[in-house]
């Protein structure tokens, strides 16, 4: 094998076998052997195959095995809106929609919170959600989001959630809405909600 760093430097990025062959000026079998070796050393991951074209993702750094984090869970359950993660979040331990929803609220990011509405379709353990939200002092935000999700999405389990007595809070700091259709939810939970009707173009059914 030629100097490994030199090869990786040339190849870094997304390749098919043909583009890799061309970049390295090597024959097909030699390129496949090389990519296979690099894959064993964790510099290459593959996707596709079968009917689709096989793609090789090649990096100068080793690609470590991942455990799913907040972005993975939200992207898994949000069919219309996918998030581009701006940091790599991984949780080594139990992590599901309940934990991801609370983490999403804590990011204070508009897109993350909007995409996380879909998680309500997959909440199984409501007691756990209540406990986690209480620990982080955000139960009213969870409740308000649940009501918004019920308003704009289908197939959400019906639950009777009650607010905790607390002062007014913002779902996203200093970012209220002027939309009337959300006002009753705001009043019930004492939470200023940051969404407008246009934000739910993908899902609103009311």
């Amino acid at each position: 094998m030629r100097n490994k760093d030199e090869i990786l430097w040339k190849l870094e990025g997304l390749h098919t076998i043909e583009t890799a062959m061309k970049t390295l000026s090597m024959k097909r079998q030699s390129t496949l052997n090389l990519l296979s070796k690099l894959k064993k050393e964790q510099y290459v991951t593959t996707s596709g195959g079968g009917k689709r074209k096989r793609l090789y993702k090649i990096t100068m750094r080793k690609q470590r095995p991942r455990d799913p984090g907040m972005f993975d869970i939200i992207n898994k359950y949000s069919p219309h809106m996918k998030l581009a993660e701006w940091y790599d979040h991984q949780v080594h331990g139990v992590y599901g929609p309940e934990e991801a929803l609370i983490d999403a609220i804590e990011t204070q990011s508009f897109r993350v919170i909007l995409a996380s509405l879909h998680l309500f379709r997959h909440i199984k353990d409501w007691k756990k959600l209540y406990k986690l939200a209480n620990e982080r002092d955000c139960w009213n935000k969870v409740g308000a989001l649940y009501d918004v999700a019920r308003l704009v999405l289908d197939k959400i389990q019906q639950k009777v959630l009650r607010p905790i007595k607390a002062g007014k809070v913002y779902l996203i700091k200093n970012y209220p809405t002027k939309e009337d259709f959300i006002r009753p939810i705001e009043r019930k939970w004492n939470v200023a909600i940051s969404f407008r009707r246009g934000d739910f173009d993908w899902g609103i059914h009311s």
Binding site: K62, Q63, G69, Y87, D88, Q90, V91, H92, G93
Partner: protein, 225 residues
């Protein structure tokens, strides 16, 4: 030496023994392993925001058989006089360098704490939340710690990164200087001079730092040190 798998297992064991949630910032070899720059490291470098968090962490380390060790063979004497030198804990296989609030004179800046490369949560009853600093911060901190192999690590990072943001690094160094850390400027300039023997670094970045040397830092007060 600790490998990636050792590190994951060790952090998981630590998290199972914690009595409260802990947040810390990883830099040095640990962060490089998370990034995938290298496979093993001699030591685990953590920065804590609060002394209580470090105390809880060291309690667990002692429970796991780690003993406090002397930093004298690891850091140069000039660094050892600093009140923010690390507490070190060692076993036969691993060593922890544990800092609180500052890494010598270098503060945990708002950018360092908010703009991280990764967050790894090791969950059990309580959580060990490890924030992995950005590569530019790793280079700055490796310039500051000046241990054996630190320069080699800097070279590894810079040589493997096509998109290394030198302006980001310069801005962070200048922020640290403005907030009372005079060492970081000198250490980074020294590192950049050495690094330019191996990799191309535009002169304009070095110039921004050397120009700053002639001005006194605004907030260099006793309190900050």
């Amino acid at each position: 030496m600790i490998t990636y798998n050792d590190q994951q297992n060790l952090f998981h064991i630590i998290s199972t023994n914690l009595k409260k949630n802990i947040r810390c910032f990883a830099f040095g070899g640990t962060a490089m392993i998370f990034y995938g720059y290298k496979d093993e490291t001699k030591d685990v470098d953590f920065l804590f925001e609060h002394e209580e968090e470090r105390a809880e962490f060291t309690r667990v380390l002692e429970k796991l058989g780690f003993r406090e060790s002397s930093p004298f063979k690891v850091y140069i004497p000039e660094k050892l006089r600093d009140p923010h030198r690390p507490k070190m804990y060692s076993s036969e296989t691993a060593r922890f360098d544990l800092f609180v609030k500052k890494i010598f004179h270098t503060l945990l800046s708002p950018r360092m704490s908010e703009d991280v490369y990764a967050i790894h949560e090791f969950k059990d009853v309580h959580t060990l939340k490890v924030h992995v600093l950005r590569k530019e911060h790793l280079v700055i901190l490796k310039s500051v710690t000046e241990r054996e192999r630190d320069f080699e690590d800097i070279r590894t990072i810079v040589e493997k990164e096509k998109n290394f943001d030198w302006q980001y690094l310069v801005d962070e160094v200048l922020w640290q200087y403005q907030n009372g850390d005079t060492w970081v400027l000198l250490d980074t300039i020294k590192m950049l001079h050495e690094l330019r023997k191996y990799v191309f670094v535009e002169q304009k970045y070095l110039k921004q730092l050397t120009d700053k040397l002639s001005t006194k830092p605004k907030a260099a007060t006793r309190k900050n040190r």
